[in-house]
Symmetry: C2
Subunit: 415 residues, 2 copies
């Protein structure tokens, strides 16, 4: 069915372990149903010949496509042209000292084409849709996956059908309308928008970009882990912290890091710190108690991780456990205050979910989970411009002055 060669050997159910050959419209494991998330497997022995320290040092492509040998995308497939990935990994020694850490790195995914980490998954989604000859693709999203899909669909000339909860921030909805997507604002929760999108994709025959059921999407997300692996190589940090909603992002990053170890690019892995918002922390609760996940009503202003019924729990729990890491939860106030804190120390302006990783690191440092010599990577997942209303709550007002120097002097003295 696919026109061109990949190193994919098939798909394996994370629940029952059954192996499947690739086939169009195989989303979750037919035996296990919706919980049977599939994981894409590769011939790493073969990939290693094409992708290794030496090949990477010579590769001029500043994008995720430098990792094609471990992507589920044909070598001759039509790819989106928006420059995606190879986002900066910044090191801030002064900020690390201020926080009582041995090192602080920011993986700046606010710099992706539509301003979020989700672009990594959308790029794979539109590429797979085009490989299969589909002209429509759909998604349910709290916002970023939606605007991301809309942008990449526009770039590839595909139609996008998008389901958002009507509470999604205005900027995100506008962004996807501008890209020409057909948008359904669902009068209900993200979870309701999600199920409606699932039903509609099946009913109308759209290619389904929902990460939790489309195994290929996580392959896009893992490119963040591949990049961090390549950027730090044998100088890997002790921790990598990232916000967790559905669980696909942390699972994807972990897979990318594991692959870089498999490919001999790095020699040790970081521990993962999964950070959830207090008002939407079912994975944290399950990890802490060892009990099966209990859905909760999601209640956090970090809309990108406002997920009460996460759909990639198995992978998300396993990744953190395998890494020797932990889950923490943080309050909305802690998230909000991390916005200006990150921006002022680094110049990186991220949205609430984008700074949740920093809030989690502060909490974990406070509790002693992260030690004073530990070097920590935080993933800034979404651009602050996407949620100006939340950012506004964290800052004061400008000084209102008449066009007169006396007014400026008065304002300065008043400080």
């Amino acid at each position: 069915m696919l026109k061109t060669r990949t190193n994919v050997t098939g798909l394996r159910c994370v629940k029952c372990g059954k192996h499947y050959d690739e086939q169009p419209d195989l989303y979750t494991c037919p035996a296990c149903g919706i919980e049977g998330i599939l994981d894409v497997e590769y011939d790493y022995d073969h990939a290693k010949g094409e992708l290794n320290k030496t090949s990477l040092a010579q590769d001029q492509r500043q994008s995720i496509w430098r990792y094609l040998p471990v992507l589920p995308v044909g070598r001759a497939s039509r790819l989106p042209t928006l420059q995606l990935g190879m986002t900066p990994l910044y090191h801030y020694p002064n900020f690390a000292r201020e926080l009582g850490l041995g090192g602080l790195y920011v993986k700046d995914d606010t710099r992706n084409p539509t301003g979020s980490f989700k672009d990594r998954a959308s790029a794979i989604g539109v590429t797979k849709a085009a490989e299969l000859g589909r002209d429509t693709i759909s998604v349910a999203s709290t916002g970023n996956a939606a605007s991301s899909l809309a942008g990449f669909a526009a770039n590839m000339g595909l139609r996008a059908f998008i389901f958002v909860p009507e509470t999604a921030p205005e900027a995100k909805i506008t962004q996807l309308l501008v890209y020409g997507a057909t948008v359904f604002a669902v009068r209900g929760s993200y979870d309701q928008a999600y199920y409606l999108a699932m039903d509609a994709a099946a009913e109308f025959g759209w290619y389904n970009r929902n990460c939790a059921i489309n195994a290929y999407l996580v392959e896009g997300k893992k490119t963040c882990g591949l990049e961090v692996g390549e950027q730090l190589q044998d100088d890997m940090a002790d921790w990598l912290a990232v916000a967790v909603g559905d669980g696909c992002t942390i699972a994807g990053i972990w897979k990318g890091l594991m692959e870089m170890k498999e490919l001999g690019v790095l020699n040790r892995l970081p521990r993962l710190l999964g950070v959830q918002a207090e008002g939407a922390a079912p994975i944290y609760e399950s990890f802490s108690t060892g009990q099966p996940l209990k859905p909760v009503p999601a209640n956090t202003l970090a809309d990108s991780i406002a997920v009460g019924q996460p759909r990639n729990t198995t992978k998300a729990l396993r990744a953190v456990k395998d890494s020797g890491g932990a889950y923490v939860k943080v309050s909305d106030d802690a998230i909000l205050s991390a916005i200006p804190r990150l921006a002022r120390a680094t110049g990186v302006f991220a949205e609430p979910a984008g700074v949740t990783s920093l809030a989690g690191v502060l909490a974990a440092r406070e509790s002693g989970l992260i030690g004073p010599k530990d070097r920590v990577i935080i993933v800034a997942t979404g651009n602050g411009l996407k949620d100006i209303k939340s950012a506004q709550r964290t800052v004061g007002k400008p000084h209102s002055v008449a066009p007169a120097i006396e007014d400026v002097r008065a304002a300065l003295n008043q400080k």
Copy 2:
């Protein structure tokens, strides 16, 4: 005074031609006053040995710092760490055909760290301030130069004092407060904010980042031209279109292109299309009539180019004339409709001033100024997320649906 070597030979007044050695706080020509904009000059013979096709092909730095031999920045100076420049230059053959052009390239400066072209100038500004041992830097701006300076000042650990007209978009003001800048919202026009910032910088001893008077800033802006020159080399397009407010941007891009020709990286230059908004088109009027510039009350929703009294007229007129190009003006409606048009055809979401270049190309193609075989570069100068309110005016509403498949079907049939 500068600690480290550069290829700068001095500064020359664009009005009287007098040459000056570099010195702290030399802004405009002492003989000519505010109209005596200075231009930084280099030893190109020396620079050519360090910066040429061969050196560039081997340079791994994906940032403006690959052009250090023609930047006014010491080799050992402390540089901002935010990844800046080397923004994508996309080619869209299908969109070109749709527009009746021989080729269409988008230079995507929405991808800079704070989301705009202005980051190029701010990076040089904060570097020069730090070289001079200053800990404060100030600017007047309609928005992007402000948020850009705020982000780069945060990154460098400098204090930023910023003057904006109180009508600047909310997102832009929030962005700079988040970065920790001290902001003065001036109850008046951009022009009034500008003069107040000038007075305050002199009064309080702040390093002045205003592009029109600080010769070094244009050196940052020219990096866009340097990049386009490197990206297309001997395959240069016929036209480069860019929005014009103060005139510094088009002058800067032109200088960068000229330098790339001087350095032997490209063999011919594009013609420049300067595009102004109808409600703020004094440079267009001066160019068309040959009369000296007459200030106008600025009235356009493209806030980044809402300049009634531009301060870099001499360079802006000269650049377009020298290139054999032209100025055009476009309506706010034409600007607005270019937002979704660009986004849907390319995946690039830009703010009003950011798509003004496209609106200008459409007008120039319509009038025959740009021919059917011409290959055209448009510069997308600012990210669409910076002005969601304007973008909202260009699109409809999402379909409001209950979480029921019947509602989705009804909405689809209704289209």
